[in-house]
Symmetry: C2
Subunit: 188 residues, 2 copies
Amino acid sequence: MARWQSGSRERLAASALRLFASQGFEGTTVAEIAAEAGLTERTFFRYYTDKPEVLFAGQGEFEALFLDGPETSTSTSPMELVASALDGAAAYFPDERRSWSRSRQVVVTGNVALHDRELHKMSALADALTAALVKRDVDPTAAALAAEAGVSVFRRAFAAWIAEGETRPFVDIQRGVLHQLQALLGSR
Amino acid sequence: MARWQSGSRERLAASALRLFASQGFEGTTVAEIAAEAGLTERTFFRYYTDKPEVLFAGQGEFEALFLDGPETSTSTSPMELVASALDGAAAYFPDERRSWSRSRQVVVTGNVALHDRELHKMSALADALTAALVKRDVDPTAAALAAEAGVSVFRRAFAAWIAEGETRPFVDIQRGVLHQLQALLGSR
């Protein structure tokens, strides 16, 4: 992940984010993004199908990391399978990515359509994790509850990880949030 | 709630749902809905601002029921406050509403835009519950986790309640799902 900031793809992503932050997502064209990166529009479309894709690329890789644990773990406990999914997802967020993720989040939450797409993505992730758990013989309702709890923990961990001044690694924050949820639900 | 099937508003809703089911949401016009209900288009717009509104009306009333418990309960335990929200929400789903909710769900899940609107609604509900818990001095991360767990329980309970052949009252199903989540999270 040390090379994450290099390459045309990454330069385009960084340029896009700079422009979205300074002049808004709607107010930025693909031509401007390419120019800012010192590349052509044609090169942009070699890497991304459209402008929003800059913010949502990598979804397949992220989902693969998220589902690897539940699919390969030897455990049969729903929450251990979910914990393995969360640890896998944490690998997608090394410290080098934190400042990019922080800027991306400002853009996504500031635009209704992007925010809805993010909600849709999280809902699809919970559905995929539910399916993975059902394949591991977890009862469907328990699978859905455990998967949604997992995605909820992921989202809280992500919000904490990108908070100003936060320096702990993603994986540690996320394990803490999972324990917090377990403590909350265990105590009535 | 015995009068729920009477009145122009309810007749329009029932007619809309019949038409959405038989000819699709997109393929149905407001004029057809009004005609099916034996009313005018003008009457339709007295009750609903637009066609999707037929499926999403009552959101304010539902949210009020959901938030009443957490705002007025004397408990300070986050999960007891969430449990009170869930019991309040159950009042919105008397048995007379079950078949309408069942048909509505088929329409909503069959249309991407409506499904996204439903996701958005659930996300807004979790945000509102989070805010209500924070007002009750719950730590913000704990509030968000507890609120999202609550909305997750609500969604599972709703799915079970509208399942073919299910006859148990909403409130009983929902309490069972909450206990199932607590057992899941309590046992690692």
